[in-house]
Each structure stands twice: as structure tokens, then as C-alpha cells.
């Protein structure tokens, strides 16, 4: 479906643009407190209103987008950086190496990710960096599995046999022939993990284990809004909407990319 690709690109592009623009310009300074202006509803001066410290919500959302995107993006990078080579290795070697890699993956999958993320951030101290590590670790088995699953059928194809006969080693075949053929799988999975990372970062920040003050983060904005939700609903509604729009955009983008990259799926809903 073309529509989901376009809508997904637009929505996730919006979040990315907000993050990038915030480096150059925000409507107001997010470090500037103005208690007299606190909890104002959306108006001409403050498009999305102000929070309990009188900070401009739109500016907070824009700077918060940076945190969310950076954490999720690096976590995907960690997952791919370790998971893809592991998956390639498991598919190329088979036997006990495959068994060890896959059982190790099963083990990581058995741990409730949030519990371990909380443990890791508790062990290393709460910070955006440790949130990245915690989320990244859980991306590793995901990418290892996708890579192995995509690589195994390719290893049985004739042109891989030909490459083997020509004297190419397993690692060269993996990089030159297998990797380009599973790139679309990895891109799609990367988009999905990206959106899950944004949700996970918001959850960790919400319980106080993500980015620390004064760095604005969508999850912490929600945590701070919790006690004020009855007084000024906009402080709770707006950061949540920012998360939903970004995650929805990335999911739609992932779906759209999968259909666009895999012609066999084209036309089927």
C-alpha cells in the first residue's frame, strides 16, 4: 500500500524535522522558567500551551524529539552492529555455533525486556546512555534472528555454490552476497525496532530511568504531567500525542517499505 509509505514517511519526517530544527531554533528557550506563565492552555503565543514551570510545550516537544530519536536510533545501531554479524555467522557455519547463537537468543528473549532494562539502568545509574544500552541489548537477538532467517535460504541457492566453488570464503560470501540480499529485511526490521525503541525510551523516562533533567524527554514530561492531568489536560495529552504520531509514523513506514521492497507482497493487503 503506497498510502502507508507516504503517510508513514510524513509522520516520522515530522518528528525528525522537529528534532533537527530544534538544534537551530525553538519558539522559546526550554531552560527558561516562567512560573507566572505556568499551565497556560494552547494560545497564539504558546501554540501548545505551557507546562508547570511555564516552559513552552512546543519547544519542549521539539527538544524532546531529539532525545527519543537519538536513544532509539543508537539502540537500533547496537542491535544491528552485534545482531547482524551473529546471524550471518550462525547461518554460515551452522552446527553447534548456530545452536549456541540461537539458544543464547532464546535466553535473552525469555527476560522481560522492561525488567532487565530497569535492572541495567539501576546497575549503571539512570541516564539516556544507559537507556540506550538497555534497549540496544534487546535489539541484538531480534536482528540476529532476522538475519539468520533471511540468510539460510540464500545459502542454498546456486550462485552461492558457484561462489564457493570459485574459492570465496564464508565471510566474503556473507558480506558480498548474503548481506545485500537481506538488506530490505533489515531495513524493515530496523524501522520496527526504531519505533519500539521510542516507546521503550518513553517508558523508561516515565519511571525516571531515562534522560535526566534538565534534558527534555517525552516520557518524563508525561510523568511530570501525571499529577496535573485534571488541572491542565494539555500537559498530559500533548507529549503522548507526540509519541503516538512518531511511533505510528515509523510503523506505517515499516509496513510501506516492506511492501515496496518486496514486490511479491505488492497488491496483497
Amino acid at each position: 500500500m503506497r498510502a502507508s509509505l507516504i503517510l508513514g514517511a510524513l509522520l516520522s519526517g515530522l518528528a525528525l524535522a522537529a528534532a533537527l530544527v530544534s538544534f537551530l531554533w525553538t519558539p522559546a528557550d526550554v531552560t527558561q522558567l516562567a512560573i507566572a506563565q505556568k499551565l497556560l492552555p494552547p494560545s497564539g503565543q504558546h501554540w501548545l500551551g505551557t507546562d508547570h514551570f511555564g516552559r513552552d510545550m512546543l519547544s519542549m516537544i521539539m527538544v524532546g524529539a531529539r532525545t527519543s530519536i537519538a536513544v532509539a536510533l543508537v539502540a537500533v545501531g547496537i542491535g544491528m552492529g552485534f545482531g547482524v554479524p551473529l546471524g550471518l555467522l550462525a547461518a554460515a557455519r551452522g552446527g553447534w555455533i548456530d545452536e549456541v547463537v540461537m539458544r543464547g537468543n532464546d535466553l535473552v528473549f525469555a527476560f522481560p525486556s522492561l525488567v532487565i532494562a530497569i535492572l541495567i539502568t539501576a546497575a549503571l545509574g539512570p541516564s539516556a546512555l544507559n537507556a540506550i544500552i538497555a534497549i540496544g541489548i534487546f535489539n541484538i537477538p531480534v536482528f540476529a534472528r532476522v538475519t539468520r532467517g533471511g540468510a539460510l535460504p540464500i545459502w542454498t541457492l546456486d550462485y552461492i555454490r558457484a561462489a564457493q566453488v570459485a574459492g570465496k570464503g564464508a565471510s566474503r560470501i556473507s558480506i558480498q552476497h548474503i548481506l545485500p540480499n537481506i538488506a530490505n529485511l533489515l531495513i524493515v526490521q530496523g524501522t520496527i525496532q526504531f519505533s519500539l525503541g521510542i516507546l521503550a525510551e518513553a517508558g523508561l523516562s516515565y519511571v525516571g530511568l531515562g534522560a535526566q533533567p534538565p534534558t527534555p524527554s517525552w516520557g518524563r514530561m508525561l510523568a511530570e504531567a501525571q499529577t496535573m492531568v485534571a488541572l491542565a489536560p494539555h500537559v498530559a495529552v500533548i507529549p503522548g500525542l507526540a509519541i503516538v504520531v512518531t511511533v505510528l509514523g515509523l510503523n506505517l513506514l515499516g509496513d510501506g517499505l516492506r511492501d515496496a521492497l518486496d514486490p511479491r507482497l505488492r497488491g496483497s493487503p
Binding site: 539458544r103 532464546d106 535466553l107 525469555a110 527476560f111 522481560p112 522492561l114 525488567v115 532487565i116 530497569i118 535492572l119 541495567i120 539501576a122 546497575a123 545509574g125 519505533s195 516507546l199 518513553a202 517508558g203 516515565y206 519511571v207 516520557g219 508525561l222 504531567a225 501525571q226 492531568v229 485534571a230 489536560p233 498530559a236 495529552v237 507529549p239 503522548g240 509519541i243 503516538v244 504520531v245 511511533v247 505510528l248 510503523n251 506505517l252 493487503p269
Partner: protein, 312 residues
């Protein structure tokens, strides 16, 4: 079948053993010495050392692991550093909140997902399908704790139908169920969205099979073929996802339990980490992970019962 079960049992034991070792070592990495934490900042070094010895904290790591594991196997998870009560008892208490909450959420998720998935599959490619699937995309993107806040705003603050948080205990069953309802809905909706999508695509796949065409040729209506033949065959992927979701709901309720101030297992872990009550953290995480591994094992076993090809 017996050989398959034995092999799976051995791998189950190994997973549990590895998981316990992993949990033990990660928790040991948490900085902060429980003994000095218990005694406060003004404690004499000798007192701290004596308490460390009494708690067995001066033993080498592998020895402490074996001690702990021996206790676990005998059903003894140790004593909480802060509450001075047996950890196993604390976990059982908290399970009385977490288990019903997870079951309620799972039941709600299935109740919502089943009609939605069937509706979308029956109208695949048409406007109804597109609309419902778009709605599930939004459902998946909802952070459950934010959805929980919105539910509180509407049903507790504005309408005053349900409590905004807390748990009265099972001595008051009606009030207890009422206080679990909003958290269960908040947990269930995103899961229902995932489940509905899985069910829809599984149904769409089975609806293309020859035996469905045969059933239609025999004179069954599209709806009859869907509910009598396709649904049953589409249930395997749905059951897989449900097994995963149950473990997620049991453990993933941490944040929701915090939103609603529910005294569940997740909140216990969270509080124990902030109090450096490591022995509670170890016990509670072990119970959760063991539950996940056991559920996976049971789901695997039930597949083998259903599908002989899987008993390799």
C-alpha cells in the same frame, strides 16, 4: 513424543539454570552495599563488616550463587533486607495482584481482538478492513501508560465511575475487580491491536487454502467457512503471540502498576531496586523469567501435541 518431551525438558532445565546465573550476576553488579544501606550513613565500619558477614556478603561470588540456588530449589528465596520477611511470601502476596491483572488484560485483549480480526479478514481488501486495520495501527502506537492516564482522566476524574488508583485487597472482591479494570484495559488495548492484526493475517492466509474452497463448494457460507474451519487453523500463530503476551503482561505491568499504585510484582521489583533490596530483586526477577520460560515450554509442547511434524 517421549523423546521430544525429554529433550525439551533438558533444554528447559538448562535455560532455567542459565537464566538464574545471569540474574544473579546482573543483580550483583548493582552498585551499593546492602549492609551499609541498611545501617545508614552513620554506621561504624566494624558494624557494617559484621552485618556483611552475617548476611553472607563476604563469601566469593560463585559460592554465594550456589547458596542462593540451593535455597531457591528448596523454595527459600531468602529474607528481604528491608522488610525482614521471607521473599517467597512477598512474591506470593504481590502475585495476587499481578496474576489476576495479567489474566484480566489477556482476556480483554482476546475479547477485543477476536471479533475485530474476524471482521477484518471477512472483509479483506474492503473499506471495513482498511478502517479497522488503521485503528489497530494507532492501538499499537499507544504507550500504555499514557493511555492509562487518559483513562484515569475520563473514568476516574471526570465521570468518577472507577478509582484512580490503589488496591483494596481481595477481601472486597467487587472493589478489587473495579480497581483492576482500568489498568487491565490500559494493558489490554495495545495487545488487542497486535493480536487482531496477527489473527487477521493468519485468517486471510487460511482462507486462501484449498480446504476452504472445498468447504465453500459443499455449500458453506463465507461466514461459516471462516468460523468452522479457518478460525481453528489460524489459532496456532495467535496462541504463540498470546503466550508471549501473557509473559509480557505479567512483567510489563511495572509501569502500569506505577501509574495506578497497584501493589503488584512489577512495583515490588521497582521499589526493591530503589531500596537496594537485592535479594528481593533476584527472587522476583527469577520468578518472572521462570514463568516466561515455562509458558514458552508449555506452548511448544502443545504445538507438538497438535502437529506431529514438530516433534523432531
Amino acid at each position: 513424543m517421549l523423546r521430544y518431551v525429554i529433550r525439551r525438558l533438558i533444554s528447559l532445565g538448562l535455560s532455567l539454570l542459565l537464566a538464574s546465573a545471569l540474574i544473579f550476576s546482573v543483580v550483583e553488579l548493582v552498585p551499593g552495599d546492602p549492609a551499609s544501606f541498611m545501617l545508614g550513613t552513620g554506621a561504624q565500619p566494624e558494624t557494617v563488616a559484621a552485618l556483611r558477614q552475617q548476611m553472607g556478603l563476604d563469601l566469593p561470588l560463585p559460592l554465594r550463587y550456589l547458596h542462593w540456588l540451593g535455597g531457591v530449589l528448596a523454595g527459600d528465596l531468602g529474607h528481604s533486607f528491608t522488610y525482614k520477611t521471607p521473599v517467597a511470601g512477598m512474591i506470593l502476596d504481590r502475585m495476587q495482584v499481578s496474576l489476576p491483572l495479567a489474566l484480566m488484560a489477556l482476556a480483554l485483549a482476546v475479547l477485543i481482538a477476536l471479533p475485530i480480526g474476524m471482521f477484518a479478514a471477512a472483509r479483506r481488501g474492503r473499506a471495513g478492513d482498511t478502517g479497522v486495520m488503521a485503528a489497530t495501527q494507532v492501538g499499537i502506537a499507544l504507550p500504555n501508560f499514557w493511555f492509562a492516564m487518559l483513562l484515569v482522566l475520563l473514568f476516574a476524574v471526570k465521570l468518577r465511575w472507577l478509582p484512580a488508583g490503589g488496591f483494596p485487597g481481595w477481601d472486597h472482591p467487587a472493589a478489587a475487580l473495579k480497581s483492576l479494570l482500568l489498568p487491565a484495559v490500559a494493558l489490554a488495548l495495545p495487545q488487542a491491536a497486535i493480536l487482531a492484526r496477527v489473527l487477521r493475517s493468519a485468517l486471510v492466509e487460511t482462507l486462501g487454502q484449498d480446504y476452504i474452497r472445498t468447504a465453500r463448494a459443499k455449500g458453506l457460507s463465507a461466514g461459516q467457512a471462516l468460523s468452522r474451519h479457518a478460525l481453528r487453523n489460524a489459532l496456532i500463530p495467535v496462541l504463540t503471540i498470546m503466550g508471549m503476551q501473557f509473559s509480557f503482561l505479567l512483567a510489563g505491568a511495572i509501569i502500569i502498576e506505577n501509574v495506578f499504585y497497584l501493589p503488584g510484582l512489577g512495583r515490588l521489583i521497582f521499589q526493591a531496586i530503589t531500596q537496594r533490596d537485592l535479594i528481593v530483586v533476584q527472587g522476583a526477577v527469577l520468578v518472572l523469567v521462570a514463568a516466561v520460560i515455562l509458558v514458552t515450554f508449555l506452548v511448544d509442547l502443545s504445538y507438538a501435541l497438535v502437529d506431529p511434524r514438530l516433534r523432531r
